[in-house]
């Protein structure tokens, strides 16, 4: 863990602890948590770093948070998260967020510390499994194997909401500036390692950005856009790594009315990175990907909801759009049953075409097959 990371987290853990011990009644302190266990089986290829072809239960997630509403405008809190996804994640827990939140007015609030990044429909909630219908979010945009890197930033966020008038709806906004580091145990680092690049400490950089979402006058319809910027520098055992400033925009819409919910999101990412190995010519690689999804669902009863989505990821920079290495398509059908407000289960089927995201050569040593069928079952508990 980087010193700045440790310092900030330590400071806010201290702040949180102090506030919790400052003579307040226990009714001001909230503790919430969740835990999920998944079972994944596939044909064609192994998926997400798990031995899914023979069936894998190696997907466990859990989190616990503590919040203290110190006074009407000030809240402090921290959340610890655990993820094991096949070879990713691990036995260590990580600080998901640890912040102080001062809401001056509904239209102006400030969060500082380690703060979740609002980007698109799911970035800040994607590691809270009980929050959505799907067992796996669209891998093309919300890759569960690489999500840890861009979940949060160490810095500050200004946020708020304002009414645009009775007939114009409401605007929500978030702007932030901070630092981030590649997660040491996710898919990005696995790909670096597979290419022979070893980092004693994960690279990192600055990540400013903003999110703007408009609750339109049409009931339940929200339109939005986000832009995340980031760069990265790092030292390898035999050289250095550099990623210049990258722009990651996305546009999205969601519609929730009565028992129906639907959403869509599009993003385009152009990114370059340079590996400078001692005594060798620096190697610069670039990628250009466009990804989108459409999803919809219906609450059949208070306890049962079901839905489907389609997602598509294409890498034109690969040069051959028909090569499975340069695209990824996934048809998904999903159902969720809530036994009560604490326990739930999910069952989901995937028909995947292409290998652009989520597939790794280390657990598919004989090469990739173009198509993969996948079945995911999850049980979970939240409080």
């Amino acid at each position: 863990m980087r010193p700045v990371n440790s310092l900030l987290i330590g400071a806010f853990a201290l702040a949180t602890g102090s506030a919790l011990c400052a003579g307040q009644g226990s009714e001001d302190i909230q503790i919430h948590g969740f835990a999920t266990q998944g079972f994944v089986v596939s044909n064609g290829n192994n998926y997400l770093g798990m031995g899914t072809r023979s069936g894998s239960p190696a997907w466990t997630e859990a989190a616990i948070n503590i919040n203290d509403q110190v006074e009407n405008k000030l809240r402090v809190g921290v959340q610890i998260h655990y993820t094991r996804l096949g070879t990713f994640g691990g036995d260590n827990v990580s600080v998901d967020w640890a912040l102080g939140d001062y809401r001056v007015k509904p239209w102006l609030g400030l969060r500082a510390g380690k703060v979740k990044i609002r980007w698109g429909l799911f970035n800040d909630t994607q590691d809270y499994d009980p929050g959505y219908l799907w067992a796996l979010l669209p891998e093309s945009i919300y890759g569960v194997d690489i999500r840890a890197t861009n979940l949060s930033q160490l810095g500050a966020e200004v946020y708020g909401k304002t009414s645009l008038g009775r007939k114009r709806g409401r605007l929500s906004y978030s702007g932030y500036y901070g630092y981030y580091f590649f997660a040491s145990d996710d898919g990005y680092m696995a790909l670096f390692n597979a290419s022979g690049y070893t980092f004693p400490k994960p690279p990192g950089g600055k990540t400013p950005g903003f999110d703007l979402r408009w609750d339109t006058p049409l009931p339940g319809l929200q339109l939005g856009g986000s832009l995340m910027l980031y760069n990265a520098d790092g030292s390898m055992t035999n050289g250095s790594y550099r990623m210049p400033v990258t722009f990651w925009p996305t546009y999205y819409a969601q519609w929730n009315i009565k028992k129906v919910f639907a959403s869509a999101q599009y993003t385009k990412l152009v990114q370059y990175q340079t590996f400078s190995v001692t005594d060798a010519v620096p190697s610069t690689s670039g990628s250009d990907t466009r990804a989108w999804f459409v999803m919809g669902g219906y609450h059949f009863t208070d306890k049962f909801q079901a839905g489907a989505y389609y997602t598509h990821d294409l890498q034109p920079s690969g040069g051959d759009d028909s090569n499975p290495a340069n695209f990824y398509k996934d048809w998904v059908g999903s159902g969720r049953f809530d036994f009560n407000s604490n326990f739930y289960m999910k069952l989901e089927g995937h028909l995947m075409d292409g290998n652009l995201v989520g597939f790794y050569s280390f657990d598919n040593p004989n090469g990739f097959k173009p198509r993969t069928g996948l079945l995911v079952a999850k049980i979970g508990f939240t409080f």
Binding site: D68, G77, W97, P106, D124, Y128, H299
Partner: protein, 140 residues
């Protein structure tokens, strides 16, 4: 046969009316809240965490019942969500570090007590529950 049908219809109507009467809820607020009425969409936005103020500009703090007929009726009539969907929405805010859960109470008298003594508080109770110290907001 006609009499039987008539009796059945009458019983059904009485049953529906009894349910409605029993389930009616009142929206209450601290007397300092600068509003005398509130719209259904304002209630939905406040109680789902979408906003923390009314259109009048008054800031409000929502207070919940943990369960019961008044709670379910309030969610159905004004929030448009089942209890599990409603809680899932709040939990998404909590687990993403955006908010803490609203205070929730086991009994309606505890809701009244809290609302009456907490500036900006807004809650809901059954129509029959005494609500001394809190003011009733009419719903538009």
């Amino acid at each position: 046969m006609k009499k039987l049908l008539l009796a059945f219809l009458l019983l059904s109507a009485l049953s529906i009316l009894a349910d409605r009467a029993q389930a009616q809820v009142l929206v209450i607020a601290n007397p300092a809240v600068k509003a005398s009425d509130v719209s259904k969409s304002e209630l939905r936005d406040v109680f789902t965490g979408a906003t923390s103020s009314l259109k009048s500009g008054a800031q409000v703090i929502p207070v919940l019942l943990k369960q019961g007929a008044a709670h379910n009726q309030f969610l159905a009539d004004y929030v448009g969500k089942s209890d599990s969907t409603f809680r899932a929405g709040w939990r998404s805010l909590v687990f993403s570090g955006q908010a803490s859960m609203p205070k929730s109470f086991d009994t309606e008298s505890a809701v009244v007590e809290f609302v009456a003594h907490t500036a900006d508080a807004i809650g809901y109770i059954s129509k029959a529950t005494p609500h001394e110290g809190a003011k009733v907001l009419s719903v538009r």
